[in-house]
Symmetry: D2
C-alpha cells in the first residue's frame, strides 16, 4: 500500500486527487495538507467527503511528511515545491509536483515567465516531465516528476503526432484554448465570483500565459527545433473541462486517412487517448470526471490547414488524474489503476 501525502489538498486539484486516491486500490492518503484549514476536518471544507474522510487538515511539515509518506503530491502555487525539496527529502520520498517548478528545463525561462527565483534549480535536470504518454519510460522508477499543466497536456497531446511527423509548419501553430472555471483555482477573488463568470466568455493572459513556454519546449523536443507559437486561453462558464482548438499550416497535401494513420501510430494503444470517429468534434462533457483525452482533426482543403481539437477534464488528466498516472508509473503499478472512471454525464 503506497502512503500518499498531499500538500495543498484543499484546492480544486488537491481535492480531486483525494477523490481519485480514495478509489485507488494500492494507495492510501496519510496527510491532508492545507495551510488555510489547519486542524479543521477535511469534510468541513468539502462536504462530499463527509463520512468518507475523517482526518484533519495538517500544516506543511516536510520532515514529518517524508517520514510518513512514500509519495508527496504538491498541489500548490509555483515556488513552494522548489523551496521544499532537497537531497534528504528526495532520498526518502518520491514527489509529484503539480506546480510548474520543475516543468521547464531552462531556469531562466522559468524565472522570466513566472517572475520568481527558482529555489532548487539543481533538481530541474533530474525531474522528468510527467506527460505519461510521451515520457512513459523516463518516468518509471523516478523520484521527482513534474506534472504537466492542464492547458499544456491538452495542447501537446493534440498536436504531438503532427509536429513529430512534420505534418505542420511549426511556425504556423496557433492554439485557441477554453477552460472551465475550476482551472482558475479556489482563491477568493472577485473575478471568479459566480456572477462575474456566469453568462460570460473572455480571453485572458493573451500572449503572456505561463503555459506558453511549456508547450513550446515540449513540442520543440518533438520536432527537434525551437518553436514559437500563439496560445490564447479563455474562461468558460462551466466547472470542468478544457477544449483546445489548434491550427497549423500543412507542409503538403494530406488525406484524412494519412493523418488518421499518424495519430493511430502514436495513440492507438493508449488507453487514455481516444481519437474520435471522422467529423466528430471533441466535447468536454464526454470526458468529465475521467482521465481521457478526446482528440480529432479536420483538414481544410481550402486553406491547406489542419484544425486539431482536444478535450480533457482539467482536474483529472489536466492535474490529479495524470498525477496518479505518474504515481502508478513511478511505483511500477498498472498505469490505469484507479483511473478507470467512466466519464459522468450529464
Amino acid at each position: 500500500m503506497i502512503k500518499a501525502g498531499i500538500i495543498g489538498s484543499t484546492g480544486y486539484a488537491g481535492q480531486e486527487l483525494v477523490r481519485l486516491l480514495l478509489g485507488h486500490k494500492e494507495a492510501e492518503i496519510v496527510w491532508y495538507g492545507s495551510r488555510s484549514y489547519i486542524d479543521q476536518k477535511y469534510y468541513q471544507v468539502f462536504g462530499n467527503m463527509f463520512e468518507i474522510v475523517d482526518e484533519k487538515c495538517l500544516d506543511d511539515n516536510m520532515e514529518e511528511l517524508a517520514d510518513r509518506a512514500d509519495i508527496i503530491f504538491t498541489a500548490t502555487p509555483q515556488g513552494l515545491c522548489a523551496s521544499l525539496v532537497n537531497e534528504d527529502i528526495l532520498s526518502r520520498v518520491k514527489i509529484v509536483d503539480l506546480s510548474a517548478d520543475f516543468r521547464i528545463k531552462d531556469v531562466s525561462v522559468y524565472e522570466k515567465w513566472y517572475g520568481i527565483e527558482h529555489k532548487s534549480p539543481e533538481y530541474i535536470k533530474e525531474a522528468v516531465y510527467g506527460l505519461c504518454e510521451i515520457n512513459r519510460n523516463e518516468i518509471q522508477g523516478k523520484r521527482l516528476v513534474a506534472n504537466p499543466g492542464c492547458y499544456t497536456t491538452c495542447s501537446i497531446l493534440s498536436l504531438y503526432p503532427l509536429v513529430k511527423e512534420g505534418v505542420i509548419d511549426t511556425d504556423s501553430i496557433i492554439i485557441d484554448a477554453k477552460s472551465g472555471t475550476s482551472g482558475a483555482g479556489r482563491g477568493a477573488k472577485i473575478n471568479n465570483l459566480y456572477c462575474e463568470v456566469n453568462e460570460n466568455i473572455k480571453a485572458y493572459g493573451v500572449t503572456t500565459h505561463r503555459h506558453i513556454p511549456e508547450i513550446e519546449e515540449q513540442l520543440g523536443y518533438a520536432c527537434g527545433k525551437e518553436i514559437l507559437l500563439n496560445f490564447t486561453p479563455h474562461l468558460v462558464p462551466m466547472n470542468r473541462g478544457i477544449l483546445v482548438t489548434a491550427y497549423g499550416n500543412l507542409t503538403k497535401n494530406y488525406t484524412y486517412e494519412e493523418l488518421k494513420a499518424i495519430y493511430d501510430k502514436y495513440y492507438e494503444k493508449e488507453y487514455f487517448i481516444r481519437i474520435l470517429d471522422k467529423d466528430v468534434p471533441p466535447e468536454t462533457r464526454w470526458v468529465e470526471g475521467s482521465n481521457f483525452v478526446d482528440i480529432n482533426f479536420k483538414i481544410d482543403d481550402r486553406t491547406k490547414r489542419v484544425i486539431v481539437m482536444g478535450a480533457l477534464d482539467n482536474l483529472v488528466k489536466g492535474a490529479a488524474g495524470q498525477a496518479v498516472q505518474n504515481m502508478n508509473l513511478m511505483f511500477g503499478l498498472p498505469e490505469t489503476m484507479g483511473l478507470d472512471q467512466v466519464p459522468m454525464f450529464p
Copy 2:
C-alpha cells in the same frame, strides 16, 4: 456474473445505469435497449462511452431479453413496463421498473394521477416498493421491484423518522422540492432548451405532480394513517440534484438532541444516508455522482415547526443508483457493491 438488460438505455436515467453497471464487479450489460436509436452504436448517442461500450442499441424484444438477461431495468415512460410483464417473463427474469407502474398499490389512484389504464394490475400486489433503507427485507430475493421516484426518495427518506415516531403533525406537512433539469428527461421539448431553463427558476405541477400520491402512500404506511400533504417541485438551472425542504408542525416541544437521536435510530447504520452535523444544510453539490442522501433538520422555536432538508443526486439515489442497490438486494449481493463512488466536486 449477473446479466443485465436495460430498456430505455438512452434516457438520462438509462445512461446513468450504464455508467454504474460498467463499474459493478458482478454485473454486465447484455442489452442496450432504445427504440429511438435502434442499430446505432451506443457511444454515438453518448460520447462518454466511446471505446468503453461498443454495442448497438436494440429494440424492445421482451422474449429475447428474458432469455439473455437475469435482470431487466425498465427506464421508460409510465405504462411500458406494465404492458410488458406477464407470468412467463417474470418466471424467467427479475425486473426493476424505474417507472411508476408498480409503485402505487391502489390501481385507481395510479390511473387517476397518471391518466392511463394499468395493463397488468395483477402484479401490483407482488411488486415491492424498492426504497431500500425502508423495505430492505421485502426486496431480498424478489422478482419485481418498483424503483421509487426521485422526488419521492428524497422526500420520504427525509421525513420518515419524524413521521414514524409521531414527531410532526401529519396534517401539516409541506414539501418544497427543487430539481436539476436531467429530471425533466431527454425529450426534445422547447421548455427544456438551454435558453429556456438557464437563468430561471419556476414551480411546476403545483398541487398536481404525480409523485404526490406516492409520497403520501409511503409516509402513510410509516404512521399508519392516511396523509394529505403539499408538494411543490421547482426546476433549477443545473444538471443534477434534488433538494427537498420540508416543513411540519411539531407535536410537542423537542430538542435538537431528541430529534437527532430519532434520525440516528433509523439511519445511523445506513451507509447511503448521511445525517449532517448540526446547522450544516444539505447541498446537492456534495452528493453529485453518488448514491448518498444528505439529510439535516432545524427546529424553529418561534413557530414550533421543524424544517427538514434532504439532498440527493436524482440520477443516482433518485433513479439508477437505487436501481442497482435494489439489484444487489434481489441477488443477495452486498448492498453497496458498485455504489461506492465518492461524490464528484466541483
Copy 3:
C-alpha cells in the same frame, strides 16, 4: 433634473441603480461613491459602462454629497446609513436607504436580528417603509425612505391581499424562497465563487434570515396582529431573480374566482404587479431586467391550502428599481418614469 448620489455604487445593487438612473429622463448621477475603488474610473470596475460613464469613484463624504445631490441612495451594508444621517443632512437632501437600517420600527428587533447597535434610532419613526404599492401615499414628499429587502418585497406583495382580507390563517404561513446569486453580494468570498455556486442548490439562514422580522412586521400591519412565520431562502445558480413559493391554510373554502377578485382589488391598477393567467406559474426569466412582480396562486382542494408564487428581479424591484420608484414618488414624478424596461429574455 434631480441630482443623485450613490453610496456603494460598485456593489451589484449600486451598479443596477446606475444603469437605471442613466436611463431616467429627470435624474442624473453626480456621485459614484465606492470606498473600495476610490479614484478608479467607474467603467474600470464595470466594463459595461465604458464610454457611458467617465466619472471616477469617490469616497463617502456626506457633507459634500449633501451639497451636491438632491437625493442620496445608500446601497451599503447595514449600519452605514444609520451612522451617516442627522438633522443637518436630512434638511439638505433626501435619502433612500437600500440597507435595513430604517426598515424595522422596533429598534430592539433590529438590533437583535442584525447584531449591531442602531446609531440613529431617532429617525426610525420618520422613515417610511418604501414598499410603493402599499405605502404610496406615505412616501410622497418624504425625505427618508427605507427601501425594502429583495425577499421581503417578493414575499409581502405576493401574500398581502390574502393576509389583508383574512383569506389565510396567519399562523400557518410558510415561505420558501429562492434567489439568484447576485443577492449574495459582490464580496470576495469562497462560498460565492463560480465553482461553489454552479451546479448546486442549498438552503441557508434557515429560521434565522434577517428578512424574517421585516416580513412579519409588514404582514402584521396588513392583518392588524402579530405574525410568526417560516421563511427559508435558497441559493440558486443564476445571476438574477427571486421566486417565492408561499403556503397558507385557507380560513374557509374559496374558489379561484374569489381569490382572483381579491388580488385584482389590490393590484389591478398596479403597473408593476402582474397577476398571471390561471395556472401559469411565475418564472424569474419573465421579469429579468424589469421592475415587474409576477404573482399567481393555486388552491389545493385536497389540503385546503393556497400556494402563492411571486417572481421578481432582485436587483430591480428587489433593490434598485424600487429605489427609483421611491425617488419618483418622493419628488412627485410619474411613478414609472425610467422603469418601463421590457424584461429581457433569454
Copy 4:
C-alpha cells in the same frame, strides 16, 4: 410612426426585435408573425410580454403585411424571404432580411454553402449588406437590406481596419469564435437541451460553417482581393454573446500606438463600436442587452502576429439591434434611436 411587421417573431431574434421596437419612439409593431403559434397570444409564448403585448400571432400573409406595414423584418430560416419578395411587394414596403438570402452577391456561392436554390436572385444586386458602420451610406433610403449574420458582424468589424489598411497578411487569418446558445435558435432539438449544452464546450461546423463565405466576401471588399480564411465556431453554455478571437500575421512591425490609430481612424466616431483601453480584453458580459461591439487587439512580438478580439450580443448587434439600426438608416432617423440601452450586468 413607422409601422413594422415581423415574420418569425417567436424565434429568439424575433422576440428581441419585439423588445427593441417596443422601446423605439418612432416605430410600432403591427404584425407578430409566427407560423408555429398562429392565433395564440404573443405573451403566451413569451411571458415577459404579459400586459405589454396583447396581440395574437399571425400567419405569413405577405399581401396583407405589405398593406399594413412600412417595413417588414424577416427573422426566419434561409430561403423564406427570397421566396416572398417581388417587385410589387418591394414597391409597397421596405424589407430587412435577418436571414442569409441576400447577403452573398454570388448566387452560386449562396447555393453551394446553403444547399438550397435561390428563389429571387434578381434582387441580390439591389440588396445592401447592412453592416451599418461599413455601408452606412448605401443603406440610407434603400428598400431591401440584408442584415449580416451574428458571427459575421463580430468577425468583420473586429478585423476590418487591419484588413483595409494592409496590416495583416490576408492569407493568414484565423478566426476562432464562441457563441452563446441563443444563436442555435429555438427549435426543439436534443442537442440544444439544457443538459446537453450546460457544462460543455465544443466546436461545430468546423471548416463548413455558413458564415465563412460571408466573412470572406466582405473582408475581400475591404482589401480588394479574394480571401480564404479559417473560421471555427464554438457553442458556449450561456444565453447570449459572441466572442471572436482572430489571428493574423503582421505584414511588418507595428507598435500598439500605430494599430490603435488605425482602429481610431475607422471607429472613433462610431457610437456602437468601443475600442477598449490597452490590455483590456473584450468580454461578452459587458455588452449584454446592448448594441455595442467591444474590440481590442494585442501584438505578439514573439510571433509577429496580432490577436484581435471582439465581443457583441448576438441577439442585438448580431441580429435585432442591427436590424433596427438599419431601419433607422433606411427611414432617415437618428441611427441610435431605440438602441441606447446600457448593457445589463450581471
